[in-house]
Every structure is written in structure tokens, then in C-alpha cells.
Assembly symmetry: C2
Homo-oligomer: 131 residues x 2
Amino acid sequence: MTIDAVLSANRAFYRAFATRDLDAMDRIWARRAEVACIHPGAKPILGRREVMASWRDILAAGGGPRIETRGERTLLLGAAALVLCEEVLGKGVLAASNLFVVEDGEWRLAHHQAGPVAADAPPPGPGPTLH
Amino acid sequence: MTIDAVLSANRAFYRAFATRDLDAMDRIWARRAEVACIHPGAKPILGRREVMASWRDILAAGGGPRIETRGERTLLLGAAALVLCEEVLGKGVLAASNLFVVEDGEWRLAHHQAGPVAADAPPPGPGPTLH
């Protein structure tokens, strides 16, 4: 499983989000691994049924700003992979962690957390180029 | 590696945080795995040196409210483990994801994200009891 495959799975997640495609969103989440999600401003949600119910509500709400992502960085952690990125929604920016695990030969999402980035947050330091 | 060991590592992280013990904080973070951190309101930080520098600043600042945690839930994901919890700081509440990996026979922190929980956030649903 390559970095490219993780980034492809991350793009599929945001494509499902942007196009409000609940079936695609369902496919990207792990089926056997335990899953969890922390939406902005919310408490942790655990369990696949509960996480998918939260996405059903979010995608059904519609009318939100277009979501774009930038600054994707990937950490390979054995059989798991973490993609960090910024989500740009209109004038707002969120920082997100997306944790993927391998199931049936593909990366599937096991956990997502997004939280607001303050308007005056400094850019992250240069840091090492990981991948 | 057991759930108890993950929760013990999670407690060690918050003990280092609460007691502003930079050496203890350093010991809890992974040494070989890539590490990252998303502090509340901030953009992602990658790289051990950069992450530890951020903790040095936070712990040196002092004077913050006492930090307590509640609602710990653990997801075992192969060689990684994710602990979700709420951080209570004075009247504020944050939702946190702490991702641990095994190194040298112990759980070490590879990633931490915390973000604010809105004052009017509903409690999470009952959900399944995972562990």
C-alpha cells in the first residue's frame, strides 16, 4: 500500500463530502475496524452506525460552502496511515486528521477529526519533508 | 499490548501535560515513527522536533487551567491504537484524538489533535460499548 493510495483514499473521502454522496461516503469508511469521528464543535462519535448517521445528517443538510483541501501530509504508521490536511470552506479553515487502515487491500477510513483553525494562526514551521 | 496499557500511556500524556513536565512529555512521544500534532486553533505540525518545540512553548507558558480528562474510549487498530477523550480545562471542553503506536514494547504517541467542543454540543449517542 503506497502513499499514493492513501492520498487517493483521502481524495475519495473529500469528493464524497463535496458531492454529498452518502453511498460513496459509506464505501470509504472501514467495515471491520472500529470507527470514530469528531466533527467540529462536537464530542467524539463511536461506532459505524453512529458515525454514518452523523454523515447522513451533514450531507443531507446541504447548502454549505464548497469544501477544498490543501497541504496534505501523510504519515505511514505500519498498517495504518494518517493524512493531515487543511479543509477550506468559504472563508473558514479547518485542520483535519484522517486515519486510514487497510481492509481488503484498500485504505479505508477509521477516524476523522476536524477542528477550526484560528484566523490568525501562524503557518506551520517548514518542518521536514516527510513524503 | 492491552487496552489497559494504551489507557495508561494516555494518562501519562495528560499527566505530563498537567504537571508541565517536558521530559515526561518527550518520553511519551514516538521516537522512530513520524509524529504530528494539531493544537486547538492551529495548523498541523509535523516532525518530532517541531512537535516537541510546540509542547515546550505550551508547557513553559504555565498559568493555564488544570486539565482533566473524561470519557476515554479506545479503538485498537492493529499495531496502532486510538484513544478518544474529552479534555476539561476550567469551563472549556475539548475533544481529543490520541494515536499511539508500539515501539520497544510500549505504546508511544504518534499524533494528537484537540479541538473545542461547543458549549451547546449534544452528548454523543449511547453507541456500542467498544471496550
